[in-house]
Amino acid sequence: MIGILKGMAVTLRHALDGETFTVEYPETAPEVSPRFRGVHKFSQERCIWCRQCENVCPNDTIQIVQDDKRNGEQYNLHIGQCIYCRLCEEVCPVDAILLTQNFEFTADTKNDFVYNKEQLKNVPWYKDIDPLNSRNPDRNAWIGEGEGEVDYQ
């Protein structure tokens, strides 16, 4: 009986202290850490079409189409299929593909989740955080590690 009363006391204390841990989402945007990985942002200006991101992607989320002179034509990324592992950002030698902190994306059909390079370019920053900037100290830890020079194919 004492145990039951203890449990009732604990719940009552929580009910009366008025503290809540709910985040009222659309009104208060949740805090995300600088390392958070969200929707990709792609910069065609930076990209050198080395196709490393396409190769490293574990589940073929990235599709790159090149013409016969190996100039890039299309850069498609299925953000609904992506598992947000950040390997593409890791292998990119020129920071052309980034994972922003933006986690808010919707679509009516799953096909709408296939972003082309224009859509990827227009992905907004979340709260104006530039992830490259906030993760910058760590980036150097990856580049330059491993054997030999970065492979541009």
């Binding site: 929580h14 809540t20 009222e24």
Partner: protein
Amino acid sequence: MSLQAVLPDTISGLLGLEGILGDVVGGLVGAFLIANIMLIMTAFAGPWAKRKITAAFGDRIAVNRIGPFGLLTIVTDAVRLLSKELIVPEGVDRPAWDLAPMVIPFSALLGFAVIPMGNGIQLADPETGLAFAFAAASIASLGIVMTGYASNNKFSLIGALRAVASNIAYEIPLVVTAASVVIFAGSLRMSEIVAVQAEPLLSVAGVTIPTWFAFVNPFAFALFIIANLAEVGRNPFDIPEAPTEIVAGFQTEYSSVYFVLIYLGEFIHIFLGGAIAATLFLGGPAGPVLPGFVWFTIKIWAFFLFTQWARSAIPRLRVDQFLEIGWKGMLVLSFANLVLTAIIVGVIV
């Protein structure tokens, strides 16, 4: 003999009707009023208060999007539930399956007919009032058995059988404990039970404590509340529903309007349980300053709050343990209480 005029008489008196016509009109209007009061309370309790209370215990906010404090959720929930498709599973036993959702809420509403709610709000005041209230409340179990039997679903069947088992096991201690109150009061008539409790028990520093039976016999009150929790099927005795064990128990197959009716019925049942407890042990509508009806409302909401608190804080018993407590614990204790009360009353009076 009634201590004060019951509601139908008041209404027919106001309308200036007499004879059978007055009885019929007064009765209908009175019943309509009381049923609506209870339904409004249930509407507050079900979609809104329950969520808010549970959320408070779990450190959350709960509904707050629609209307002030999310109160309009009641409306949207009603629209949502009523506009859903009524799914009739294959092989259900049609008349019983359709009747059960009506039996459950209306049996609980029926019990309110004899409850004095203060300010002369009482539909009828028969000499066997208390027995009537218990009898009406138990019809709900018939409804539950109908749902379980007619649903053609094994989970429903288990839920219904559990409901029957719990009802038999806990109805007896409930009634026997109530009988000890009847010995004190010397009457089954609800208004007289309330009237007896109005007498002062003792006076401390100018504050008079009335002879509410909860003060006179706290042990019986505790027994009654526990048995009542089982009777209305709330934690730790919510075994007829037991969502993690048997999905939703007897109401597994119900959707849409039928589900709303069953859901309503459960909440009205909680309020009826609270109303009987308030009448028997807490002086009914009695209370200082505020009018009787307000006190009555506070008391039944307090019981509702208690059920929700228990739901948050107390684990569910297993069905065999539950029955063991009922038959070996509650039954013995309630009879002991009855005998003791009878001896004490016999010696004093």
